[in-house]
């Protein structure tokens, strides 16, 4: 299990899924998605993959896009991975549930232990789950219910799993993330700050918290690719997307900042946490 918190961000592989044309049409995922520039979105996605592979040195697996799954690129919603275990989520939107199949297969092929939700009453979006290295927080949002959170607790029994009410139309991970093993970053919106306070009350561990001007900037990924002891990276939204938050992010001194852009994909509700899944095939080494 390693030192608490050290497990955070350990990864050897990253999993992404291509952007289908259907995403641009806004027809997928039901209603409400604004039209977006497909080319730009695909470009952003490609750049993200490139950074994961080249900048971070991860083994990158890219699942092919499926037109029937416009939100397929947001595969962060489909699974919760910690250590050698992947909990296959049960997205709130029934239209998205088929997305999990490809992801499940890929994760299984990577040797992860697959856990299914197996409860018709449970809904869980993977991006409502924040793993801090020491514990889980599950946001009770529009997409994730108590039962879903309970299954997270059942699956990752070594860890405390606390529920955090998330107000507003956002996932927990879209308003906060980990900037380091002991640092929670969060946006400055009420919802984000409320969530942070709730987490502070629930945790046994002391975290520092860094507030960023933009909620979306808090959706960052703390990654430690490679061998233990390798320097950590923080994959975050760059200055092109969120100029206001860059300065604050600079305060995270212990990580190498890797800015990426996904402003177009964001229109479809995507964030860094939903656009990729990272995992380690040898989590216990």
């Amino acid at each position: 299990m390693g030192t608490p918190g050290e497990g955070l961000g350990r990864c050897s592989h990253a999993l992404i899924r291509g952007v289908p044309q259907s995403l641009a049409s806004g027809e997928g995922a039901g209603a409400g998605l604004p039209a977006l520039d497909l080319a730009k979105a695909q470009r952003e996605h490609g750049v993200l993959g490139g950074k994961l592979r080249q900048r971070l040195g991860l083994q990158l697996l890219e699942l092919p896009p499926e037109e029937s799954l416009p939100l397929g690129p947001l595969l962060g919603d489909t699974a919760v991975i910690q250590g050698d275990t992947a909990l296959i989520a049960r997205p709130w939107s029934s239209a998205r549930r088929p997305e999990v199949d490809g992801v499940r297969q890929a994760l299984q092929d990577l040797g992860l232990r697959i856990v299914e939700m197996g409860d018709e009453n449970a809904t869980l979006d993977g991006t409502d789950v924040l793993f801090t290295g020491r514990e889980f927080f599950v946001g009770l949002s529009k997409w994730t219910n108590h039962r879903g959170a309970e299954i997270v607790a059942d699956t990752f029994r070594d860890f405390a799993v606390s529920t955090v009410p998330v107000s507003g139309p956002c996932h927990l991970r879209s308003i906060c993330g980990m900037g380091g093993p002991r640092t929670v970053v969060a946006g400055s919106s009420d919802a984000a700050q409320k969530a942070v306070r709730a987490m502070a009350a629930l945790t046994d561990h002391p975290y520092a918290s860094l507030t960023l001007p933009d909620d979306a900037a808090a959706d960052c990924l703390f990654l430690r690719p490679g061998l233990p002891g390798a320097p950590p990276f923080l994959l975050h939204r760059g200055g092109g997307d969120l100029p206001n938050s860059q300065e604050a992010l600079q305060k995270l001194s212990d990580v190498t900042l890797v800015p990426v852009s996904c402003s177009e994909l964001e229109k479809a509700g995507a964030g860094l946490s939903s656009l990729c899944l990272v995992l380690s095939t040898r989590p216990h080494s």
Partner: protein, 1025 residues
């Protein structure tokens, strides 16, 4: 130390009961005499044994008997019919022997549930104490007369015996924890045993009663031992630990199963029988407090037992783990028990014999083996350590879960752990209340309440209520919370609230050592690494064989009752066991009336809050929370990070513990105690200030009596007023909670709305709490502990007091040299003036003679009881008082011309000429504690305050002189108390002395009695006036 505290409270309780008996002694005696008359053997024995016993101890015995009644005076409040009942019960019990068991059990239950003494009643008792004193003396005298002639008469002797037994009981309880005194007691008991053995058959049957205890150990084997029926939990626990060769035992405890669902911890400070009620004497040895960092345990054997417990927890599912963790922990288990992986040997092992998980799969076993191979080279101890390193991180490690419902009736679980209280719904943590956040813990009926600090943007505290399945569950949870809070968060255990004072709730407090203390203690462990065998996890298969073998060996190893004595406490009680269930039986019936009484009063007087636990001031981490925050902030600023801290609660870090370890705990604790005392005194002083002139003493006895009563009344009133306030607050809170049932969400809601509305009424509370927040120290919650509330103001000063300072605090009981005028006053209407001062050095080990032992006990008992009477000031009993030397002359204190011979453990009798007193016959006995506090002795420092309090009753004049000085940064509070006892008739000097001491000790349990001087003057000295 801690255990002593616990026992002290116990003692009090019992003494109360005894006290109740005391008044009824006569009926009892009669009854007993009748009984005893029948047996000739008894007579013979008595005649044999009595001479020696009597000559030495009879006066004391008498004292003792009276003391109880004096102390409480409760008996007087008991309606006559009740009293009669009592005495009947006694008789019945004696005859019936076992029959009574049910009764005690019932009683116990009541007691458990309503442990809370009636404050009012007690206070009254206190107030009456002085009144009672004269009466007692009279009674005493009577007794003496009776007894002396009776030496030859059979009838009286039995009575005496009974008394003796009672004494011994008391003694036992008091001393139980004082190993030093053990020797004496043993002697005494030996005597008793002999007597009993030869005596009537009736008694023999009663006394030989012992019970077989079975304790299931962590390795699955069973340990069996015989225990005296009345033995306290500590006795059994010590035996078990001894059997296990376990020194770091504070993390462990014994539990018994009340029902499949309910596991109760055996309270070491209470009788086992009373806790078990009618349950079989079956226990399990368990980890009670899971060390947050097992690597800080000193001994491997301790870690081993912790491992065993965790393996149980894991196998039973209490400690959930992931598959990987199951495998990993299992592999360490294999490494520890089987050593390096050996393919050949491995074949012979059937892994299904091991239970690595609640449900074990082949896959898991394979994984275990796979991981086992990687541990090559790890020693068993290392493997255990690795096991623990991984297990301790599990989220449910050390979390004690209790089923409950929230305000909406949703099933939740309350988890008590080192850091606080966790609220779970299903497996999810939905709320958490760290100890620093909790201001108060209470339960009422089946409801459990916590009062929490206001959140950041809130102004008012909120009280959150949970519904437990039943009252007992609520109380159990409450106790566990109190214990965990104390163990993990306090430097030293909180003193149990005094019964007499306005404690509204259970006076239960954790009496063991805190983690900080036990860590410090274990650093002192210096023994060769104990050899122990790691039994295989294949316990299930081995148990059958193992048990028999183990048991036999146990029997051999475990010392018999007689032998046990060498071990101290445990031994003592064991020895006692034989003599007598009779005593217990006698006593337990008496409890019945007592309980009733309390109940009745409760109804009328009782507040709404049943049991409240207020956080104590000597928190370790409280300050750190903020400090931590600051430090982090600092760091943050350095790195140009502006970070808000999510959580102020630091997770237990080795560093902090380390620090704590370094700081002398004992000192801190002492300082605290001193503080308490100091506060008590101050408050007292204020109240008594009016009467604080020496001239007051010169009043005639009658007048004095009256005045004293007045004073007492004043005090009472004041207290009542305060109490009333607090109670109201509580009530309101409770109501608030109850009134807003629907409002509570699943996540344990806050009852803020109502509370806020009541803010006016809450003001007192909230203000105090806010204060405490600012100071980060004022954790005393006023509501239930009045004296403490008053103390709060002084908190800071107290803190300044170095640990030594507390020791400097001195208590003097009855200083004879009291100004001449005083003596005169006392002697005015009396033939004899007896001033006794006695230095009680509670722990002095060297006293060996039975006589002295008895005496001492008396003294301490008396002190306790008396204390109540005199000031009615609540204080904690501090048994740990270290003997110390008093500085003879304190500036403000009236002249101390006394010549004291300081001898730690020995009583010196010297005739000292007291300067101003010109009495004919003077006898002065001085006790001084051995430790000389140099700082205290010579330099007088700066006087801060000096106050004199005087209270008079018919035959006693008590003058309390309190001085507070500062010497070189050390503030020192010194109390000198002079008690002049005047009697027309022959006064039992010993009694008077004992009374004085008891009073002193009880009033200021937090201080040490450094010197007691007993001064007798047999002639009336009028010239002094």
């Amino acid at each position: 130390m801690t255990t002593e505290v616990g026992s002290a409270s116990e003692v009090k309780k019992e003494s109360d009961q005894l006290g109740a008996d005391g008044t009824k002694e006569k009926p009892k005696e009669v009854a007993e005499n009748q009984q005893n008359q029948s047996s000739d053997l008894e007579e013979e024995k008595d005649s044999q044994s009595s001479p020696s016993a009597k000559s030495q101890s009879s006066p004391r015995r008498q004292k003792r008997q009276k003391d109880p009644s004096e102390s409480r005076g409760i008996s007087r409040f008991i309606p006559p019919w009740l009293k009669k009942q009592k005495s009947y019960n006694l008789v019945a019990i004696k005859d019936g022997g076992d029959k009574k068991e049910p009764t005690p059990a019932v009683v116990e239950e009541q007691v458990l549930d309503k442990e809370e003494p009636l404050p009012e009643e007690e206070r009254q008792a206190t107030g009456d104490a002085e009144e009672a004193a004269p009466r007692k003396q009279q009674v005493i005298n009577v007794d003496i007369e009776e007894e002396k002639p009776s030496v030859s008469s059979p009838e009286t002797q039995p009575a005496e015996e009974v008394r003796k037994e009672r004494e011994e009981e008391k003694v036992k309880e008091i001393q139980e924890d004082k190993s030093e005194e053990t020797a004496k007691r043993e002697t005494k008991e030996v005597q008793t045993n002999e007597l009993n053995g030869e005596k009537a058959v009736q008694k023999a049957t009663k006394k030989t009663k012992s019970v077989e205890c079975k304790v299931t150990l962590l390795d699955g084997t069973e340990y069996t031992c015989d225990l005296e029926k009345r033995a306290k939990g500590q006795v059994l626990f010590d035996k078990v630990c001894e059997h296990l060769n376990l020194l770091e035992k504070d993390y462990f405890g014994l539990s018994f199963q009340e029902s499949p669902e309910q596991k109760n911890w055996l309270d070491p400070a209470k009788q086992i029988k009373r806790q078990l009620r009618n349950l079989p004497w079956l226990f399990t040895f368990n980890v009670k407090f899971y060390p947050p960092d097992p690597s800080q345990l000193t001994e491997d054997i301790t870690r081993y037992f912790l491992c065993l417990q965790l393996r149980q927890d894991i196998a039973s599912g209490r400690l959930p783990c992931s598959f990987v963790t199951h495998a990993l922990l299992g592999s360490y288990t294999l490494q520890a028990e089987l050593g390096d992986y050996d393919p050949e040997e491995h074949a012979s092992h059937d892994l299904s014999d091991f239970q690595f998980a609640p449900s074990q799969t082949k896959e898991l076993e394979e994984k275990v083996v796979e991981l086992h191979k990687t541990h090559r080279g790890l020693s068993p101890a290392q493997a255990d350590s690795q096991f623990l390193e991984n297990a301790k991180r599990l989220s449910m490690y050390g979390v004690d879960l209790h089923h409950a419902k929230d305000s909406e009736g949703v099933d939740i679980k309350l988890g008590v752990c080192a850091n606080g209280l966790l609220i779970y719904k299903d497996r999810l943590r939905i709320n958490r209340f760290a100890w620093p956040k909790i201001l108060k813990i209470s339960y009422k009926r089946s409801n459990f309440y916590i009062k929490v600090r206001p959140a950041e943007q809130e102004q008012f505290e909120s009280t959150i209520g949970f519904k437990l399945p039943n009252h007992r569950a609520a109380k159990r949870l409450w106790k566990v919370c109190v214990e965990h809070h104390t163990f993990y968060r306090l430097v030293s255990p909180e003193q149990p609230p005094k019964t007499k004072f306005l404690t509204l709730g259970s006076k239960f407090r954790y009496s063991g050592r805190t983690q900080a203390q036990t860590r410090q203690a274990s650093t002192l462990i210096d023994r060769p690494v104990p050899h122990f065998e790691r039994t295989s996890s294949k316990r299930a298969s081995r148990i059958l064989d193992g048990v028999a073998v183990v048991d036999q060996s146990l029997m051999k190893d475990s010392p018999g009752p007689g032998e046990v004595s060498a071990y101290g406490r445990g031994a003592v009680s064991t020895a006692i066991v034989q003599d007598g269930d009779g005593r217990r039986d006698i006593r337990s019936p008496t409890k019945v009336p007592h309980v009733h009484l309390i109940e009745g009063k409760k109804n009328s007087l009782r507040v709404e809050g049943d049991n409240i636990y207020v956080r104590h001031s000597n928190l370790m981490l409280e300050d750190l929370d903020k400090a931590q925050e600051d430090i982090l902030r600092h760091q943050a600023s350095i790195s140009e990070l502006k970070r808000n801290f999510m959580e102020s609660t630091p997770e237990p870090r080795p560093n902090e513990w380390e620090k704590r370890r370094i700081t002398p705990l004992s000192l801190q604790m002492q300082g605290r105690k001193g503080d308490h005392l100091f506060k008590d005194i101050l408050s007292m002083t204020e109240k008594y200030q009016m009467a604080s002139t020496w001239t007051v003493e010169e009043k005639k006895a009658q007048a004095a009596d009256k005045s004293s009563h007045e004073t007492l009344n004043v005090v009472e009133e004041k207290k009542q007023a305060e109490v009333g306030k607090d109670e109201r607050v509580i009530t309101e809170e409770m109501n608030g909670k109850e009134l807003s049932p629907g409002s509570g969400p699943g996540d344990s809601r806050k009852v803020e709305p109502l509370t806020q509305k009541d803010s006016a009424s809450l003001s007192s509370e909230s203000s105090s709490s806010s204060e405490s927040e600012e100071e980060e120290t004022g954790l005393y919650r006023p509501p239930n502990l009045l004296p403490e509330e008053e103390e709060e103001e002084e908190e800071e000063e107290v803190e300044e007091e170095p640990s030594q300072a507390s020791q400097v605090v001195e208590r003097e009981a009855a200083v004879p040299e009291a100004s001449p005028g005083r003596h005169a006053g006392a002697s005015v209407s009396t033939v004899e003036t007896v001033t006794q001062e006695h230095v009680v050095a509670p722990k002095i080990p060297t006293e060996k003679s039975v006589h002295e032992g008895a005496f001492k006990q008396d003294v301490s008992e008396d002190t306790e009881d008396e204390q109540h009477k005199v000031n009615g000031e609540v204080s904690h009993v501090d048994i740990d008082v270290l003997p110390q030397i008093i500085c003879c002359s304190e500036p403000p204190v009236v002249k101390t011309e006394m010549v004291t011979i300081s001898d730690a453990s020995q009583r010196t009798e010297i005739s000292t000429k007291e300067v101003p007193i010109v009495q004919t016959e003077t006898k002065t006995i001085t006790y001084e504690s051995p430790q000389i506090d140099g700082g205290a002795a010579g330099d007088s420092g700066t006087l801060l305050t000096a106050q004199t309090i005087t209270s008079d009753s018919v035959s006693t004049t008590t003058t309390t002189h309190i001085t507070k000085t500062i010497k070189g940064g050390i503030s020192e509070t010194r109390i000198e108390k002079r008690i002049v006892i005047t009697g027309d008739t022959d006064i039992d000097h010993d009694q008077a002395l004992a009374q004085a001491i008891r009073e002193a000790r009880e009033q200021h349990p937090d201080m040490s009695v450094t010197r007691v001087v007993v001064h007798k003057e047999t002639e009336l000295d009028e010239g002094e006036e």
